[in-house]
């Protein structure tokens, strides 16, 4: 399913009632979301999506409850305690965006032993009894270089903006980018800075490294840093390279303006915060008795030159492009993995 269809599908989901209404087996089941952090636009959008889809599912009688809990300090031990509290509260399924892939395993094992379904997404956990909805971050990095290779047949120098040092996502995307460069050796990474997924940090970091760099033809990023990079490059008076964006509203807005001005072309990709709703439906499917493999992969949300306008229009200022998944989407992801 392409992005357009998915966005349309999301709109349809909100407009019409849920397709496949007749689910009674999970009507008395309660699902909880254990979330470790709510301090950025992506997580805020994730919680909004969860509330929207969860409330609708409760209203339609698909599940009895879809409560969201967020820990206040983004710490693994705190989230472990939160999950143990959820066991006490008698939830039938717990959907987790984990602070650590391993440090929650003890609590998650306790939940599994108590007969609770645990589905992790985005920040996934390694405990074997839990389900994992993972994003192929490596592929996300690789595809950036692939896209650049398609647009810049001569290759050239690249600047890499990385995320928060020491975080698994940063390592994965970086590995994907390295893999892409190995695949298309006409590109060379001449500089690498940490933008911490924040526009202001990225802007400062890029501005600092630019004077020492030769001509660059492309900037590979991790999302949340493209707009800052563009500002820094513009301020330095350099030619604008192709900056791969990360679906943030400010990035897409800048891209649309540059396109109108001089036909600027690029690609934008990130995970939709709505992946939480996919995890919700997967949990519901497991509760419903569906055979679901433990490891599922969620496609990332790509914005291209063609879909830019409608995605930008659908994204509130300061937020990130989103799509809410439906029960049907969950079924097709499960079917694809089976």
């Amino acid at each position: 399913m392409n992005t357009k269809a998915k966005l349309l599908g999301a709109v349809a989901l909100v407009a019409v009632a849920l397709p496949g209404h007749a689910v009674a087996d999970t009507a008395d089941k309660r699902i909880a979301l254990s979330n470790n952090y709510a301090g950025n636009s992506w997580r805020q959008a994730m919680l909004e999506s969860w509330a929207k889809v969860g409330d609708k599912a409760v209203e339609d009688g698909v599940v009895a409850a879809a409560d969201a809990f967020t820990t206040s300090e983004n710490q693994a031990t705190e989230q472990a305690a939160q999950i143990q509290n959820m066991i006490l509260q008698g939830y039938d399924a717990i959907v987790v965006n984990a602070a650590s892939p391993t440090a929650l395993n003890g609590a998650i094992k306790e939940a599994c032993d108590a007969g609770i379904i645990v589905v992790s997404f985005d920040g996934i956990v390694t405990e074997p009894c839990a389900w994992r909805i993972a994003v192929d971050f490596k592929e996300m990095g690789r595809q950036q270089v692939e896209y650049l290779a398609g647009h810049l047949p001569d290759g050239g120098n690249l600047l890499e903006i990385r995320g928060l040092a020491g975080v698994f996502v940063d390592d994965e995307i970086h590995a994907g980018i390295e893999q892409g460069v190995a695949e298309f050796p006409k590109f060379k990474i001449v500089g690498s800075v940490h933008g911490d997924w924040a526009q202001d940090v990225a802007q400062k970091a890029v501005a600092g490294v630019l004077p020492s760099l030769p001509e660059i033809v492309g900037v590979v990023t991790q999302g949340g840093d493209g707009y800052g990079a563009a500002q820094a490059i513009k301020a330095a008076g350099r030619d604008m390279p192709i900056i791969v964006m990360g679906n943030r509203q400010d990035e897409m807005k800048w891209w649309a303006e540059a396109r109108d001005e001089n036909g600027y072309e690029t690609l934008s990709l990130s995970i939709a915060p709505g992946v939480g709703t996919l995890a919700f439906w997967v949990a519901q499917q497991v509760l419903d008795g569906a055979q679901v493999p433990k490891d599922l992969t969620v496609p990332f949300l790509k914005v291209t030159q063609d879909t830019l306008d409608e995605t930008l229009a659908a994204t509130p200022a300061g937020s990130v492009a989103n799509v809410e998944y439906s029960q049907e989407d969950a079924k097709s992801v499960i079917a694809a993995a089976n």
Partner: protein, 313 residues
């Protein structure tokens, strides 16, 4: 504030909070429920005792959280794969703690600065050991932490044992009295012929020892480690000591109170979660609970002083 009141308040605040939790979530009122409520409080209690050892000698330790994280990383890697080497590293880290204590005293350095610096050292070592989260808990510690004793859950037994043993060590033994005296009046201790350097090193070594226990227990519960696993223990442990009736002025600590303080803090989190309070308010609410307890304590201590004044007059 005298000893009697010092222990009264932590007991009271824990009882009130426990009653509220039982009211909100009757399911917690069971063997299984109590264990889930309190098992993650065991490493917090141990870290709080570690912090108490430092506060006892009139210092403060800002590296408890990263130290416990470091120990957790050692436990999930070396202690599991090469137990002898793992034990050696943990012993060395306790010695390092003792050395820091001696250094702080000999050079008259502010402990807050030295331990803040050490927190980066421990944090760095933890990241070096486990650049990405992982490792595995040694089977024996996993067994210890998941043991199901009859009648009373492991978490409660562990807390009683920790409180009892540290009470004997700090409040009843001669060494404990000396250590508390260092915090109360180091000059007097030095004049009576004791080596304050040695005593301070000893207090720091004890802190290191309990920090090691906290890290090992934590990994026993989580089954694997992460370089950032216990960062919040630094503030939790300080809050736990104070909540438990300890004072920053040194020498005035209560091991039983510290354990109760740690349990209260852990329980406060569950309480707010059961209240379904929005996460935006949770940090604030946790702070409010702390301020409330400390305000009550202030009233207690004022009263205590007044009564004492009346007796004297």
């Amino acid at each position: 504030m005298n000893g009697k009141y010092r222990i009264l308040l932590p007991v009271l605040s824990l009882t009130v909070l426990l009653a509220a939790v039982f009211y909100l979530q009757p399911r917690a009122m069971s063997y299984f429920g109590l264990n889930l409520l309190f098992n993650l409080a065991v490493p917090i209690a141990l870290a709080t005792i570690a912090q108490m050892m430092i506060i006892m000698v009139n210092d403060i330790d800002l590296s408890v959280g990263t130290f416990v994280s470091f120990v957790a990383c050692v436990t999930a890697t070396f202690l599991n794969d090469a137990p002898l080497l793992g034990v050696a590293i943990l012993l060395a880290s306790i010695l390092a703690y003792a050395a820091i204590g001696a250094l702080i005293h000999i050079r008259q350095l502010p402990a807050i600065v030295v331990t803040l610096g050490m927190s980066f050292v421990w944090g760095g070592l933890a990241v070096l050991l486990l650049p990405s989260p992982g490792g595995a808990a040694p089977a024996w510690i996993r067994t210890v932490m998941t043991v199901k004793p009859p009648l009373v859950p492991m978490a409660v037994v562990a807390c009683v044992v920790i409180a009892g043993l540290t009470h004997l060590l700090i409040m009843r033994s001669s060494t404990g009295t000396l250590l508390r005296a260092v915090g109360g009046n180091a000059q007097a201790v030095a004049r009576s012929g004791w080596s304050v350097t040695k005593l301070k090193a000893g207090a720091y070594a004890l802190a290191g020892f309990f920090g090691v226990l906290a890290g090992v227990c934590l990994v026993g519960l989580t089954t694997s480690a992460d370089a950032n696993i216990a960062l919040r223990y630094t503030l939790l442990s300080i809050a736990g000591v104070i909540l438990g009736g300890g004072e920053f002025t040194g020498g005035r600590v209560s091991p039983v109170g510290a354990v109760l303080g740690a349990l209260t803090l852990a329980l406060a989190g569950s309480f707010l979660s059961f209240m379904r309070l929005s996460p935006d308010w949770q940090i604030g609410a946790q702070g409010a609970i702390l301020i409330l307890v400390l305000a009550v304590r202030l009233i207690f201590s004022r009263r205590g002083r007044k009564w004492k004044g009346a007796e004297n007059g």
